[in-house]
């Protein structure tokens, strides 16, 4: 079944059309990657879907329900969780507290919320650091915390905004494994990434946008050989050279 459907979404900021009539579909249990050169509009698309702002036109449908302009907290309660590119931990509190905030979403009891939070941490091999202050974590750990928090809200669809940025290659591989394990648990994932090795290893399908428009869609292998994609990233010359 379709988890997320974006139809003819357009986002205009004054005179600038950041997203132009974008169509996107994510099936349940899939990992969809969104890539594109800098300034292509990936973050804008992401933020429209995540409820940070409403699209100028078009529809976004989540599990069959239209969610244009819905507030972030309501989206989260409906099962759509997101992470932030610039991570925002609750720095003065420890890791467990951070995740507990998130797991309160479906319960009013602190005991239960804490237990759920601990379970999430354990599933990410993170429980050992549960008493560390979030402000003292390394960047890789902060990214993991960010995912833990989103995970603790028991999402059906997880939106990840450049979670690999700033990680070393071995950390990237670790993250890919974590995300694949999440997908195997039944969570649908929508990823924006710049790091090609991650996206290609992770995604079931990839969508490429440039100047706010979709220019290609397919499996990672198809995308890697797509003329338009190569042109977009590397310029005309490389296409000619290849041929």
């Amino acid at each position: 079944m379709t988890m997320l459907q974006v139809e003819k979404m357009t986002k205009q900021f004054g005179g600038l059309r950041a997203i132009d009539s974008l169509d996107l579909t994510i099936e349940k249990g899939q990992i969809l990657g969104l890539i594109g050169p800098n300034g292509a509009g990936k973050s804008t698309a992401f933020n429209c879907i995540a409820g940070a702002f409403a699209p100028t036109s078009g529809t976004i449908t989540f599990e069959g329900r239209r969610i244009n302009g819905h507030k972030p907290w309501n989206l989260c309660k409906a099962g759509l969780a997101r992470t932030f590119q610039i991570v925002k931990p609750f720095a003065s509190k420890n890791v467990l507290y951070n995740v507990t905030v998130a797991s309160f979403i479906n319960t009013g009891s602190r005991k239960i919320a804490e237990e759920k939070a601990l379970a999430v941490l354990e599933s990410l091999n993170f429980a050992g650091k549960k008493d560390m202050l979030a402000g003292n974590l390394t960047i890789a750990d902060r990214k993991r915390l960010e995912i833990a928090k989103a995970l603790a809200t028991e999402p059906k669809l997880l939106l990840l905004d450049e979670v690999m940025a700033g990680l070393r290659p071995n950390e990237v591989d670790e993250m890919v494994d974590i995300l694949k394990a999440l997908r195997d648990r039944g969570i649908t994932i929508f990823v924006i990434e710049h790091i090609m090795r991650a996206i290609m290893a992770l995604s079931d399908r990839v969508v490429v946008i440039q100047f706010g428009k979709k220019i290609a869609e397919g499996t990672p292998a198809e995308i890697a050989n797509n003329e338009n994609v190569i042109k977009a990233y590397l310029g005309e010359d490389y296409v000619v050279a290849r041929n």
């Binding site: 995540a50 507030k71 972030p72 907290w73 989260c76 309660k77 969780a81 997101r82 932030f84 925002k88 931990p89 609750f90 720095a91 003065s92 509190k93 507290y97 507990t100 905030v101 998130a102 309160f104 979403i105 009013g108 602190r110 919320a113 928090k149 989103a150 603790a152 809200t153």
Partner: protein, 334 residues
Amino acid sequence: MNHQHINKIALVVLLVIAFGLPLVVRSATYLHILVLLFFYAYLTTSWNIVGGFAGVLPLGHAAFVGIGAYTSTILSLQYGISPWLGALVGGVLATVAGVIIGLPTLKMRGAYFALATIAFAEGLRVMVENIDYIGPLNLNGPRGLQIPPMETGLTHFMFATKEPYYYIILIMLLAVMLLTYLISRNKLGYYLMAGGEEPEAAMALGVNVARARLIAMAVSSFLTALAGTFYAQFSLYIHPKSIISLDMSFEIAFIALIGGRGSIAGPILGALLLRPVGDFCRIYFGDTLPGLHLIIFGLVLVLVMLFQPRGIQEPISRAYQALLNRLIPITPGR
């Protein structure tokens, strides 16, 4: 014997001291000072629910004190209603006012909320100062309301000596501290803290930050108004300049900020430190150097914000923890 035990023992000792103090301190003046100390500790703890946990800056809380005081006093003077009941009515009115102010402003930049609270408090003071009657209710304008000595007793909330007032405010303080503790350990507290520290992240995690803050505001206004009734019954005279004053609003906020907003011990520590300083200055320098204590408050506030923005409770609790560790070293694996 571990840290938990020591903390519990320390707590019991403090409670014993607090409850036993009137047996040792017989001077009415000192009792009066202690009562006001607890009064301010109560106010700052109530303030802390919205100013500390929620992370916004209410600077007009004296307005709620005034609403509480005037409501219960008018109801008791004109209609013979028991001040206890009047306190509840005042609390409800204050809650309504707090929610009305908070609804639009708690979504906006913190500065706007702060301004709105100041405007509300000053506007209220100006109105009360200049109105003698609202319909049948006598406010008596700037002259204020005086409560004539009536029958004493618990139901009348009036006593001949200071001791009963001492115990009442002490119990109120402990109740409010307990409430704050419970809030901090449960969903509302977690949500408030998250919304105060990283509102965007909190919202993405399902927290309706504005609504949580509104709830905090409602609770805080209600509790603050109750203190207004206490003050009215204790000093038997209320007038706008004293009870809806910007000075009081600021003193409450400053004490909480210096003590450490967002913590439970912070406001109490702040009150314990600053009230005696204020009283001392007022008594000894009141004539020669008026307003000295306010200068000191301001200076301490600026210094604390520059060097210890989380308040003095942070170094103090670290010192306390260090002391505990000296007495009873933590065994690894704990």
